[in-house]
C-alpha cells in the first residue's frame, strides 16, 4: 500500500510518527502494541548506549576507528523488526543496531571494531554478513544470496543496507539492475543520512530523491522518514512480503541523519553547522518514541531511569567481557585463508612463531 501510494517523484514521504510523538492512527501497524513499542524503544536506547560506549572506548584507546550509529536507530531497528530471523542481512559498516538485533552478539561486534578477529565469527545460525567497508560493494552479495533463495524456492528474503554515498558507486547500479532483471527477493535500504563523510547528498546525485532511482530499474522505490520507527517497520514489512511472494525487489530510502561524525577519525563540525545538527536533534528517533510512549502513559522518568541503570549494567558487562578477551592466536591468523592450508602458509606460520619467540626474549 505504501509502495503504490507514495510517489518518490513527487517527494512524498511515508511518516506515521512525527517528531512531536503524534501518530497517524490509520497507518499505525497492528504489530505496534505498547509492549512491542516499549521493547523496540528499549533496544534503541540500548544500542545508542553501546554506540556511546564504543566512542568512549575509542577516545581512550580501547577501540579502533569505527562508524557511530547515533541518529539512525529507528531506520535500523524498524526495518530489522520487519525481518524474520531466517532472512539474510547484508550490512554496510554503520549497522550496530540492525546487526545485533538480527543476532550478532554485541560483544562480537565490539571485538571486531576493537581490532580482534575473535569478533569476526558470528554464531552459525545468525544470517548476517560481516560489516562491509568498501562502499556499496555488499549490495551485490545480497542479490546473489536472494537469488539462491529464489532458485531453491525458499521463502527467505535478503535485506541490505547502504548509505546515500553508495548510490554513486557502480556496484549500486549493478546490484539494482541485476535485482530487477532476476526479480530477486531483495530489500534495498538506503540510509540517507545526508552526508558521505563531508559531501552532502545534494552533491552525490542530481536526483530529487534516492527512492526514485528504483523506477529506472523496474521496481518500486519509496521515501520513508527514517527517524520514524513505525514507518520504517511498516514499509519494510510491505517490501519483505512483496519479496517473499515473488514480487521482486524494493528500494527504501530511509531519510535520516547521522548525529555523530562519519567515523571516530572525522570531525563533522568542519562541514556542517551546529544549527543544522540541532534541528535534527529535535527529530531524534528516540525522543519522538519517548513522547509517543509518554502520551500512551507508558513512559515515565522513573521508568527511564531504571531502564538506563539496567542497560548500563549490561553494557558494562559487555565491555568487561570484551576487554578480557584474548587476541586471536598466531594459528588463526593463517588458518582461515583456505579450507586446507597451503604449504607456504604453514611455513609462514612456523616462521612467525619462531620470530615472536625471539622478539619476546628481547
Amino acid at each position: 500500500m505504501f509502495l503504490e501510494k507514495y510517489d518518490p517523484l513527487k517527494n512524498q514521504m511515508v511518516q506515521i510518527l512525527d517528531q512531536d510523538g503524534n501518530h497517524k492512527e490509520d497507518l499505525l501497524p497492528k504489530e505496534m502494541t505498547d509492549d512491542v513499542v516499549k521493547d523496540l524503544y528499549e533496544q534503541m536506547v540500548f544500542y545508542r548506549m553501546c554506540d556511546k560506549r564504543m566512542l568512549k572506548m575509542q577516545r581512550t584507546g580501547r577501540m579502533g576507528t569505527f562508524a557511530p550509529l547515533e541518529g539512525q536507530e529507528a531506520a535500523q531497528i524498524g526495518s530489522e523488526f520487519a525481518m524474520k530471523k531466517t532472512d539474510w542481512m547484508v550490512p554496510a559498516f554503520r549497522e550496530l543496531a540492525a546487526m545485533c538485533a538480527h543476532g550478532v552478539p554485541v560483544e562480537t561486534f565490539f571485538l571486531f571494531w576493537r581490532g580482534n578477529e575473535i569478533g569476526s565469527k558470528y554464531p552459525k545460525d545468525v544470517k548476517v554478513l560481516p560489516s562491509s567497508i568498501p562502499v556499496g560493494s555488499q549490495m551485490l552479495h545480497a542479490v546473489g544470496i536472494s537469488l539462491a533463495s529464489k532458485l531453491r524456492k525458499e521463502k527467505d528474503i535478503t535485506v541490505t543496507y547502504f548509505g546515500d554515498g553508495a548510490t554513486s558507486e557502480g556496484d549500486f547500479h549493478e546490484a539494482m539492475n541485476f535485482a530487477g532483471v532476476f526479480k530477486t527477493p531483495t530489500v534495498f535500504i538506503c540510509q540517507n543520512n545526508q552526508y558521505a563523510i563531508s559531501v552532502p547528498r545534494s552533491k552525490q546525485t542530481a536526483s530529487e530523491t534516492i527512492a526514485q532511482k528504483a523506477i529506472a530499474y523496474g521496481f518500486p522505490g519509496v521515501l520513508v522518514d527514517g527517524n520514524d520507527l513505525f514507518a520504517m517497520f511498516a514499509v519494510t514489512k510491505e517490501a519483505a512480503e512483496r519479496a517473499r511472494k515473488g514480487g521482486g525487489p524494493t528500494l527504501i530510502e530511509a531519510y535520516t541523519y547521522r548525529l555523530a561524525d562519519h567515523t571516530t577519525a572525522d570531525d563533522s563540525t568542519k562541514y556542517r553547522t551546529q544549527e543544522e545538527v540541532d534541528g535534527w536533534r529535535k527529530r531524534d528517533p528516540l525522543l519522538r518514541l519517548q513522547k509517543y510512549l509518554f502520551k500512551k502513559g507508558a513512559w515515565t522518568e522513573k521508568y527511564e531511569a531504571a531502564l538506563q541503570e539496567n542497560l548500563l549494567k549490561k553494557v558494562d558487562e559487555i565491555t568487561e567481557k570484551v576487554e578480557a578477551t584474548a587476541d586471536q592466536t598466531v594459528d588463526s591468523m593463517f588458518d582461515y585463508l583456505f579450507a586446507e592450508p597451503t604449504q607456504e602458509l604453514l611455513e609462514q606460520k612456523a616462521y612467525l612463531k619462531k620470530m615472536l619467540e625471539l622478539e619476546n626474549k628481547k
Binding site: 539474510w88 547484508v90 578477529e117 569476526s120 565469527k121 558470528y122 552459525k124 554478513l129 560481516p130 562491509s132 568498501p134 560493494s137 555488499q138 549490495m139 551485490l140 552479495h141 545480497a142 542479490v143 546473489g144 544470496i145 536472494s146 537469488l147 539462491a148 533463495s149 532458485l151 531453491r152 535478503t158 557502480g170 556496484d171 547500479h173 549493478e174 546490484a175 539492475n177 541485476f178 532483471v181 588463526s332 588458518d335 582461515y336 585463508l337 583456505f338 579450507a339 597451503t342 604449504q343 607456504e344
Partner: protein, 326 residues
C-alpha cells in the same frame, strides 16, 4: 567409459556438463553464456540441457557477475561464472579482492565462497585491444584466491572439476590460444587433477623449463630442439599459479641444477620472479647457473600486427637454455 578426442573448449564444456549433472547447486552464467553458449562456445548446450535457471545470461556487468557469485556461493550454490575476456576482469577484481578472497577469514570459516570465475586470457590469436593480456600475477598476488591455468584438454577438464569442487574461490584462466589448437583424448568419466600440483610433462637432466598455459607448448618445442643439440630439458607444467607447487618445481631443479621460467605475463613482478626467488632461496649454491626468465615485456600488449614480437617463443627459450648451460 570410452575416451573422446576433444579440443580444450570441448573438454571444458564436458566438465561443466558433468558437474551440473552431478550437483544441482552448480550454476553457470555470464555474458552470452546462456542462449548463445558463450562467445567461444564453451557453454554450448548447457542451457538447453539444464534449463535457464541453471545456465543463464546476465546483464553486461562484470562486478555484478562476480559480486552476485559471491552471494550465491555464501547461500549454498556453486557458481561457475564466466568473464567473457580477462581484459574485462578488472571491473570484477574489487569484488574478488575485497570479498571473495577474504570471506572465509572474515567470518572465521563460517561463511565461504566456493565459486569459480572462468575467463579466457592471453595472446596468440590476433585479437583486438584488451583481449590478449596475461595478468595472472595480479590474481596470484591476492591472498585467498587460487589461480589455475590448464595447458591441455585433459588437464582443463580435470582441473575445472577440481575447481568446482573446491571450497574456496578459484580463478580459472583459459589460454584461448589453446582453445582449439589441438585435440587430445579425454576420458568421459569424471576425474580431477588436484589444485596446487604441477606436473613434470617431459623428463630431462640438464635444465628445467617451467611454464604454464600456452607457453608449455613453446617449451615443448624448445625442448625438442635442444634435444637435437644434445641438451636434455625437463618441462614442468605449473598448472596452478597459486598456490604454487614448490615441491615439484624444486625437485626438478635440484635434479637438473638449472632453470628457465617462461611466461607470457609482463616480466617485472611476474610469476617468474616469484618462482625464480623460490628456487634461489632454496637451492642457492646448488644451482649450476642463475635462473633465467623468458617473458613478455613491460609494455602495453601490442596490437595484432606486432603481437608476435611480444610473445615468448622457442627461439627465445633456446637462447635462455644455452645461457644456463654455458
Amino acid at each position: 567409459m570410452a575416451n573422446q578426442v576433444l579440443t580444450m573448449v570441448q573438454a571444458i564444456n564436458m566438465a561443466l556438463k558433468q558437474e551440473m549433472a552431478r550437483d544441482s547447486r552448480v550454476l553457470v552464467f555470464g555474458e552470452d553464456v546462456g542462449f548463445e553458449g558463450g562467445v567461444f562456445r564453451v557453454t554450448e548446450g548447457l542451457q538447453k540441457e539444464f534449463g535457464p535457471e541453471r545456465c543463464f545470461d546476465t546483464p553486461l556487468a562484470e562486478a555484478g557477475i562476480a559480486g552476485m557469485s559471491i552471494g550465491l556461493a555464501i547461500n549454498g550454490m556453486r557458481p561457475v561464472c564466466e568473464i567473457q575476456f580477462s581484459g574485462f576482469f578488472f571491473e570484477a577484481y574489487s569484488q574478488m579482492m575485497c570479498h571473495a578472497s577474504r570471506m572465509r577469514n572474515r567470518t572465521r570459516g563460517v561463511l565461504t565462497v566456493p565459486m569459480v570465475l572462468r575467463m579466457p586470457y592471453g595472446g596468440g590469436i590476433k585479437a583486438l585491444e584488451h583481449h590478449s593480456e596475461s595478468m595472472e600475477a595480479i590474481m596470484a598476488h591476492t591472498q585467498g584466491l587460487k589461480v589455475v591455468i590448464p595447458s591441455t584438454p585433459f588437464d582443463a577438464k580435470g582441473l575445472l572439476i577440481a575447481a568446482i569442487r573446491d571450497g574456496d574461490p578459484v580463478i580459472f584462466m583459459e589460454p584461448k590460444r589453446l582453445y582449439r589448437a589441438f585435440k587430445q583424448e579425454v576420458p568421459e568419466e569424471d576425474y580431477f587433477i588436484p589444485i596446487g600440483r604441477a606436473a613434470v610433462i617431459a623428463e630431462g637432466s640438464d635444465v628445467t623449463l617451467i611454464a604454464w598455459g600456452a607457453m608449455v607448448r613453446e617449451c615443448y618445442e624448445a625442448a625438442a630442439q635442444a634435444q637435437k643439440e644434445g641438451i636434455s630439458c625437463e618441462v614442468v607444467d605449473v598448472r596452478t599459479i597459486s598456490p604454487l607447487d614448490h615441491e615439484t618445481i624444486l625437485a626438478s631443479v635440484k635434479k637438473t641444477g638449472r632453470a628457465v621460467v617462461v611466461h607470457e605475463a609482463p616480466r617485472s613482478y611476474g610469476p617468474g620472479a616469484e618462482i625464480s626467488a623460490t628456487i634461489s632461496e632454496t637451492l642457492g649454491g646448488a644451482l649450476k647457473a642463475p635462473v633465467q626468465r623468458v617473458t613478455g615485456f613491460d609494455v602495453i600488449m601490442p596490437l595484432l600486427r606486432t603481437e608476435d614480437r611480444y610473445m615468448p617463443n622457442p627461439v627465445r627459450i633456446m637462447e635462455a637454455v644455452k645461457k644456463v648451460i654455458a
